[in-house]
Amino acid sequence: MATRRRMLLKVIILGDSGVGKTSLMNQYVNKRFSNQYKATIGADFLTKEVQIDDRLFTLQIWDTAGQERFQSLGVAFYRGADCCVLVYDVNVTKSFEKLNNWREEFLLQASPSDPENFPFVVLGNKIDVDGGNSRTVSEKKAKAWCASKGNIPYFETSAKEGFNVEAAFECIARNAIKNEPEEDMYLPDTIDVGGAGRQQRSSGCEC
């Protein structure tokens, strides 16, 4: 264990357009927030080193690159995810109702070996908006849905204020590790033409 190379964990963030997926990533990784919305351009994924119980991991957080807008994420995007984060906007009921579609889409496309226990984390974002007065989805309702889907951990966040973002991502990282199979190298000898350490990544999902 001690000699093991630092492990890469792939996390993907799903949810309707405009719920704050990119902002959450940026707040967590860069401690930055921009009020200006633009449909995601420019970032492929963000990485962050995390230490969990004396072990170092590289969290690789993948953005949808706007391909979620017309439900056009390809199967390659989902491959090998170690944790899937589902985000909705607490002020937009429709984005909450769509969580179920996103979850099912993930399970269908990624076809993880153990779909029942694949780690999801749900984030209810934008709780800062209008001091919470414009909120349309209650915490109770969101928690009830999470409970019904195998007790998915749930966090209420504000990417704008940085509220609860750190805690949410720590939970995401812990869950991603849990998904790690014991013999962690499902793909031990893949060739990474880019020379980066992608082959260290375990593959949580196989198709």
Partner: protein, 552 residues
């Protein structure tokens, strides 16, 4: 000009898209996907649609169970309500139709268990050379983050006089090869030395080249002669000649055939491929041999480029056919596309999947389309024992005439195993192809190759456990048993341009690699945006940083 609210109401759930883009692409095959990434990297606004619910078009990898419907689609009644060539406003609307590109589809055997876990390439057999352009483009675009590869660890085998022989990958391998006679080794070694010295000398720049290097170079005159003549000078054995011509230089057609001219490769071409082969070996520390194959199948490659395009701002809409094209009043240029949702999108440039028939314009056709149809016969096999013991993935080349006298072109076969996540463990897949002008001859040739390497499925009447003792007749009959197979013919079309406003991309060709396809994609881009650089080296997106630092 976005009028046309008429049809919008009828469309169910079709979202509205911006009415205008620099470029609209339809179809997400590898050429279209690379072009989308290149256009987006050049700062163009890009809309990329595909009628299918998945990426890749004719370059995709699809579940085994979907293969039949993909190869033989239902003749889709043009659901468009638009009358052909209706005029609306300032432009003319012309319905777009698709043509059939696959034919002669023939499957046999039973669909294997766990069918859901087989993924089938439409471009097979195909690999990347470790040192080829495709790898370079993946690196330049940032697409390399989205694909992982594995080696064709078993290297290449030559089918010769009914047996399989290893193809040496280096001068050293020639000596350790136990199937070669001593004199054969010596001649082959000398030949490879000449070629390697030529490659080394040409890669040195002119001024650092001394007399020694000059002497090592093969003369210009020799370089333009047929490669086969050059080989004859070196008195290689017939088998070594076949190895060099068909398994390393990858010649397609019989180089000793009666009808020479365009089918013969020149020494220059032959040596270029040998150089690529040699420089591929050892390029990546953990790659064995010259070839690599993308995990999960070739369908990952278009997705990687589409993702790069998306990261650069291209808009992606799957499940969205283009119903019609919009032409200007004089019918000289295309000015946009009508989506199946009824929405009209105006664009300056239109790039279309090769299976669409582009309507003709009222301008003299400039493309030198004396296109006599070119085709490739392809085969797909499923079996449960490796063709070469102890290896997962292996390439097999059947030189012309090796299967029968009338075999005019080489047949190539690529065996893939479950370590590429394309089939369940314990199973193998093989892809075969051969170029052909006559569909039935091509198919016949593929079937011959399948028969040469596999035993047919036991008949239903035999108990399935009883095959062990029944095949005791010939000792070398350890052939894998074929479980399922499919043979079909695919039309090959080239990339074309129509009046500088629309382009059609190439279909997957008969080659083992993507070199020609990417070369023609690059040419298309130069035609589409003559002033823009094609995927400049720094076009990979930066990772781990916010977009706020990039000057927008």
């Amino acid at each position: 000009m976005a009028e046309e609210p008429a049809a919008a109401g009828a469309a169910h759930e079709y979202p509205t898209i911006d009415p205008s883009f620099d470029v609209v692409l339809c179809g997400t095959g590898l050429p279209e996907s690379v072009l989308a990434a290149a256009c987006a990297a050049a700062g163009k606004t890009v809309l990329h649609v595909d009628p299918n619910p998945f990426y890749g078009s004719h370059y995709t990898s699809i579940p085994l169970l979907s293969l039949a419907s993909f190869l033989s689609p239902d003749p889709s009644p043009s659901s468009s309500t638009v009358a052909a060539a209706a005029t609306s406003g300032s432009h003319t609307v012309v319905d777009l139709h698709r043509r059939t590109v696959y034919s002669e589809v023939e499957t046999s055997g039973a669909i294997p268990e766990l069918a859901r876990r087989f993924t089938v390439d439409l471009v097979g057999p195909r690999v990347l050379y470790c040192a080829d352009e495709a790898v370079d483009l993946l690196l330049r675009s940032g697409g390399s983050h989205h694909v992982e590869f594995k080696s064709v660890d078993g290297g290449s085998l030559l089918y010769w006089e009914g047996c399989l022989y290893p193809v040496p990958g280096s001068r050293g391998a020639i000596f350790s090869d136990t199937t070669l006679k001593h004199t054969e080794k010596f001649v082959a070694y000398k030949f490879l030395k000449v070629v390697q010295e030529h490659i080394a000398a040409t890669s040195a720049s002119a001024d650092e080249r001394g007399e020694e290097e000059d002497a090592a170079m093969i003369s210009e005159e020799d370089l333009y002669r047929p490669f086969v003549e050059f080989l004859n000078q070196h008195s290689l054995s017939a088998k070594m000649r076949a190895v060099v011509l068909y398994a390393i230089a990858m010649a397609d057609y019989d180089q000793d055939g009666p009808e020479p001219s365009d089918k013969l490769i020149t020494t220059r071409e032959g040596i270029k491929t040998i150089a690529l082969y040699l420089s591929s070996i050892g390029r990546f520390a953990n790659a064995e041999g010259a070839f690599i194959y993308p995990m999960y199948g070739h369908g990952e490659l278009p997705q990687a480029f589409c993702r790069c395009a998306a990261v650069k701002g291209a808009l992606y809409v799957l499940r969205m056919p283009v119903a019609a094209l919009l032409m200007d009043e004089e019918k000289k240029h295309f000015v946009g596309a009508r989506l199946a949702s009824g929405q009209d999108i105006s664009c300056k440039r239109l790039i279309i999947d090769p299976s669409y028939k582009i309507p003709t314009l009222d301008v003299p056709s400039d493309d030198s389309n004396s296109n006599f149809p070119r085709s490739v016969a392809r085969g797909i096999c499923i079996f449960s024992k490796s063709l070469k013991q102890g290896t997962s993935n292996v390439l097999v080349v059947f030189p012309p005439k090796s299967l029968e006298e009338k075999q005019v072109a080489a047949v190539r076969l690529l065996q893939l195993s479950s370590n590429l996540a394309v089939c369940p463990s314990g199973m193998f897949m093989a892809y075969l192809s051969t170029p052909c002008t006559d569909a039935s001859a091509g198919k016949h040739c593929i079937k011959k190759a399948i028969d040469a390497l596999f035993s047919p499925q036991p008949q239903d009447s035999d108990g399935f456990e009883g095959h062990l003792e029944s095949t005791s007749e010939s000792t070398d009959d350890m052939k894998p048993t074929l479980i399922w197979s499919c043979v079909y013919v695919q039309e090959i079309t080239q990339g074309t341009s129509t009046s500088g406003s629309s382009w059609s991309c190439p279909m997957p060709d008969e080659n083992l690699d993507y070199r020609n396809i990417l070369e023609s994609t690059k040419k298309l881009f130069a035609d589409i945006y003559p002033d823009e650089e094609f995927l400049p080296r720094n076009s990979a997106p930066v990772h781990g940083d916010d977009d706020s630092d990039s000057a927008e």
